[in-house]
């Protein structure tokens, strides 16, 4: 049987779309498993944070801690806020005089490296010397943790939320409403600038100028988004997005501009505005390739295998993050190890292997391992599919 070229071209597309449907179904199953299997009973934890507690009674949104005589000795409440890779839940204990007697990190989804940094700096202990009337703000009465500001802000914000609940419902001294300032600074400005430069660079007719603009955005991305702010796009952020762990926009405009901008441009313009234009790690690998003159190497016979391996790794990360509801655990990119000089032995070895390979071939991590590339493939394929469907529908409507 002769297969027409049209039919032979359609086959891999159909297979890709079947895999796309299966992967969406699996991701949904993982989402539901994660959603329904991650509830924690906080009552047994209250004696750890309120002294002399032997019994706990829920009262509205807070808990009353009682001693052996049945007298109230303090209150506890749970506060939730977004950290770097998901919500951070803090259980806070306060005595009858309004002193914070204890805090407990009930759940967190942060990258282990960030979380260890927070604990190593003794950040949560800082709350213990405060009363419910204190502002509990970073760089005010709390020392921020350099390199893990978003996680520290998540802990502080959820603690404030719990304290406010206790002040209102336990101590009968409601605090004035918290003023939320929009955080907009150099990282956000740089990001908008990079998007704009990438857009105009892409549209520029002169290839020489295009190249210059591209190198400008690449180096800015590497230095500013990489080494200064350590804020590249990671699979953990994509998993946070899918899990519904959207951070408070007042404090995290950067997150929304980065992820929203990429999804918007990829969906509307079918272009990848990030990887080739200002990905900090991609730029770093490209700089290494410039030193040795390394070229792209991708043998044709292995190409399909490598594509699916990369997609498999990305999909495994997404499933892991969704099932465990811990996006920070699923990420495997060595970005923080390079830009923040932080990571365990395995992560350092991984980075060294990638750096050595970058001296021999062009962007090995991007081409074979990066989980962000399959995310683009997914968006691009979905876009193509929707567009085709729209065109068919339009054609049918015109015929009628």
């Amino acid at each position: 049987m002769r297969i027409s070229p049209e039919t032979s071209n359609k086959k891999p597309i159909n297979r890709q779309r079947q895999i796309l449907i299966v992967s969406v179904i699996l991701a949904l199953i993982a989402w539901f498993i994660g959603y329904f299997s991650n509830s924690i009973d906080v009552i047994p934890m209250i004696p750890e944070i309120v002294p002399n507690t032997v019994r706990v009674e829920p009262q509205g949104n807070i808990y009353v801690a009682l001693n052996t005589k049945g007298e109230a000795v303090g209150y506890a409440a749970l506060g939730t806020s977004q950290g770097y890779a998901g919500p951070i839940e803090m259980l806070v204990g306060i005595d009858l005089q309004g002193n914070i007697t204890g805090v407990k990190i009930v759940t967190q989804r942060e990258t282990p490296g960030f979380f260890k940094l927070i604990l190593g700096e003794g950040f949560p202990e800082q709350f213990i010397s405060h009363t419910f009337k204190d502002p509990l703000q970073l760089n005010n009465d709390l020392d921020a943790v350099s390199g893990a500001t978003v996680s520290a802000e998540g802990i502080a914000s959820s603690t404030r939320q719990a304290v406010r609940l206790i002040a209102q419902q336990g101590l009968s001294s409601p605090l004035p409403p918290e003023s939320k300032k929009i955080k907009f600074g150099y990282p956000e400005l740089t990001l908008i600038g990079l998007y704009a430069a990438g857009y105009f660079g892409h549209k520029h007719r002169s290839s020489a100028w295009k190249k210059r603009i591209r190198w400008g955005t690449m180096l800015t991305g590497m230095i500013v988004l990489g080494f200064i702010y350590t804020a590249p796009l990671t699979i953990s952020q994509i998993i946070s997005l899918l899990s519904g762990y959207w951070p408070d926009w007042h404090n995290n405009l950067y997150w929304y501009i980065l992820i929203g901008g990429i999804i918007f441009v990829t969906t509307v313009d079918a272009k990848n505005p990030y990887c080739n234009w200002f990905c900090p790690f991609g730029a770093f690998q490209e700089c290494l390739a410039q030193v040795t003159g390394a070229k792209l190497y991708r043998p044709r016979k292995w190409s399909t295998f490598f594509t699916w391996l990369q997609r498999g790794l990305a999909f495994a990360a997404v499933l892991l993050g969704l099932v465990l509801r811990r996006p920070g655990v699923a990420g495997y990119e060595p970005f923080a190890t390079l830009f923040d000089f932080r990571g365990n032995m395995v992560e350092v070895v991984f980075l060294v292997v990638v750096i050595l390979a970058s001296l021999l071939m062009y962007r090995p991590f991007c081409n074979y391992l990066c989980p962000i590339d399959p995310v683009y493939d997914f968006i691009a394929e979905s876009r193509r599919w929707v567009r085709e469907g729209w065109l068919v529908w339009k054609k049918r409507a015109a015929k009628k």
Partner: protein, 101 residues
Amino acid sequence: MEKARSQKIKEALLLGFVTICVALIFTVWFDALSNKGVESPYFYRGEPEISDSFYVTRTAIAENALLGTGTPTPEKTHREEEKTPTPTSVPTLPFTPEADT
């Protein structure tokens, strides 16, 4: 012939790189998942326990301050602290022959 050989070496190196990286990625995941020690730490301010054998003493100044009576004790100035203390005579008990008998 030479080209085919170098091609094979390149392919082997690439496969080696990818295999090592995949093994390292699995190790990173395994490490992150087995890292239970930092799951839910708590930080606690315990109340200081005072034993029965411990008696709280009050100084005269503290007593005055608490009662709100008496003349406030002047604070020592830096100059005064530097002064050499003036020797004073210590009163002794008068000798009484009756007491000896």
